[in-house]
Amino acid sequence: MKLLIVEDEPELLHNIVSYMSGGDTICESAATFEMAHHKLTGFSYDIVVLDLMLPDGDGFEVLKLLKQIQPETGVLIISAKNALDDKIKGLELGADDYLTKPFHLPELNARLKAIYRRRKFQGRDEITFGCITIHPDTHEVFVRDEELTLTVKEYELLLFFVANKGRALTKQTIAEHLWGDNVDLLDSFDFVYQHIKNLRKKITEVGGADYIQTIYGLGYKFTDRGVS
């Protein structure tokens, strides 16, 4: 997956690049409208992560340009403005998703992977992790050949885990992924625990391995390391 991160704040840019880089992902960065313009006309990318507020231009202009010269490239808008108008305008101009600052990097990662999947395979691919196979187009999940009956939240949770495999995820990040802005509810962490317990049970009941590793005091990690 080849990404272009357009973000004027150097530290934020650095955060995204260093979190996303590695594995099969290549990150390039642009800190200004000018640089973004230059890179987009010269190279092709799978997804552009676009900050709407740029020092020398409007992020929407980058989006328009991109849709002209690289219509097959996915776009994820990040903006500090949580105005509904920006979101609607961005999506109307052809952006795939919209994320408001501040966001969790695992959240960005999961969304980018979802865009990538939709763009690349129109969702008709399979995601495989160990003995688990997920069909994103039909929302079906199989452990070996056994189909799992998951609730919507359990499915979302599993997808989030797989997208962030091998990464430590805090309860807060997971809770915010599942319930969005409403997670400042006191008990949401218990809810996360409930869902994880159920998901874990459903996977292991049909003979699947327990990939969900509990990190005490922090959260969880989805990994096949140390799983027999």
Binding site: E9, E11, L12, N15, I16, S18, Y19, A80, N82, A83, L84, K101, P102, F103, H104, L105, P106, K153, R167, A168, T170, Q172, T173, W179, G180, D181, N182, D184, L185, L186, D187, S188, D190, F191, Q194, I215, Y216, G217, L218, G219
Partner: protein, 420 residues
């Protein structure tokens, strides 16, 4: 009582005292003057009688009701000075006595001594008193009328700029951008007052704007460093072989940052609502939004063991910005979920007139109106920011919705009444 009435009454009171004292003085003056005149006229009568006697008139012919002349033996003449005295005498026609002034003198005329006793009716005390009171009352009435007229003129013409100024001060709103126009006035004091008030208003608005901008910018600018810090921690989490203590530290820091971020977001939202940046342009379908919110919260309610029931009318449309409507309904539901008890319930009803959210819960720790203030929260409920209801209140305020919060028999009831 307004200033003018007060001044008038005070003035009249002072006048009353002055008129009473003046009346006393006038009475005295009149009496002295009348006495002097009476005495003069008595002397005059005496001189006439004396002239008549010198002319050879017989004293019997000179005696009248008022003048009485007796001849006295010479050896009895000891004192020839005039003696005036007040005395009482019979009224000429009526059957009662009257005050008289009497002059008694013994004089020797052409070798014969005469005793003159001349008296005349003296001005009655009652009469002079009556006259003075009459005069003073009339003067007082005239003064009162003039005063009323003057006050009317003053309030109508002189003080009207002041009334206008008061009217403008009353309608002044610090959140608005323009200061009221003060009418021109030719009175220096009012001109100074207006200038001063206008300056004060502008200053207040400037300060308010600066404060507003500051809080908006501060909330806004806080988000970027927060995002950076949160990202760094997430990258730090990727470090292999972190021990439990280190993970715990990262987690706690992340939680604190999350809380800070939520607080500043909520404050920013409050400021934006206050600035009326999100004024509605068209009706929003509250039925849709409420149903959507219910779906989000039904799961959270269920996980908490709460039963959630709703009665929602079709096609409820209210003039409110869609994102604010979402926040309004969301915050009310969030509040009902958070401040609930085990095995409690939440009831929501939506009609074209009002939105009602009822839930079971512990009694509020402070009066319910106070819970609309910022950072006021029922302390038992942990992580609550105490901004949820403040935001609800602010949204209701800018849309002129009525918001009621009551607590009765373990049930909290929040009612938003829409204005059509």
């Amino acid at each position: 009582m307004n200033l003018l009435t007060k001044t008038t009454l005070f003035y009249l009171l002072i006048s009353l005292v002055a008129f009473t004292l003046g009346g006393g003085v006038a009475l005295r003056l009149i009496r002295t003057e009348v006495q002097k005149e009476t005495d003069y006229s008595l002397r005059d009568s005496y001189r006439n009688a004396r002239r008549a006697i010198k002319g050879g008139a017989p004293i019997e012919a000179l005696n009248t009701r008022k003048v009485r002349i007796d001849s006295v033996p010479m050896h009895l003449v000891t004192d020839t000075s005039f003696v005036f005295a007040d005395t009482l005498g019979p009224h000429p026609r009526l059957d009662h006595t009257e005050p008289y002034r009497k002059l008694t003198v013994t004089k020797v005329i052409d070798g014969q001594a005469y005793r003159f006793a001349i008296q005349d009716v003296f001005l009655e005390l009652d009469d002079s008193y009556e006259v003075v009171v009459k005069i003073m009352t009339r003067l007082f009435l005239i003064l009162g009328f003039i005063l009323a007229g003057v006050m009317f003129f003053v309030s109508r013409f002189l003080l009207s700029p002041f009334q206008e100024t008061l009217k403008r001060i009353r309608s002044f709103n610090v959140t608005q951008n323009q200061t009221p126009d003060f009418p021109e006035t030719t009175t220096n004091e009012f001109e100074q007052l207006n200038a001063f008030i206008e300056q004060m208003m502008q200053q207040a608005q400037r300060d308010y704007r600066v404060l507003k901008e500051f809080s908006e910018n501060a909330s806004h600018e806080i988000q970027t460093p927060l995002a950076i810090a949160r990202g760094k921690l997430e990258i730090l989490l990727e470090t292999p072989n972190l021990d439990e203590r280190q993970l715990g530290l990262i987690h706690t820091t992340q939680e604190a940052l999350g809380r800070l971020s939520k607080t500043s977001e909520a404050l920013l939202l409050l400021t934006r609502i206050e600035n009326q940046a999100l004024l509605p342009r068209e009706d929003t379908n509250l039925t849709e939004i409420t149903n959507h919110s219910l779906r989000t919260f039904s799961e959270l309610a269920e996980l908490k063991g709460l039963s959630l029931s709703a009665k929602i009318d079709d096609d409820v449309k209210v003039l409110i910005d869609a994102s604010l409507a979402e926040i309004l309904v969301g915050n009310l539901l969030k509040n009902a979920v958070r401040h609930n008890i085990n095995e409690g319930w939440i009831k929501l009803s939506l009609t074209q007139k009002m939105l009602t959210v009822q839930n079971t819960g512990e009694p509020p720790s402070r009066p319910t109106e106070q819970l609309f203030q910022r950072f006021q929260t029922n302390t038992s409920s942990g992580h609550s920011l105490g901004l949820g209801l403040a935001i609800v209140k602010k949204i209701c305020d800018v849309h002129h919705f009525d918001l009621q919060y009551t607590y009765e028999k373990d049930v909290h009831t929040l009612i938003v009444t829409f204005t059509s």
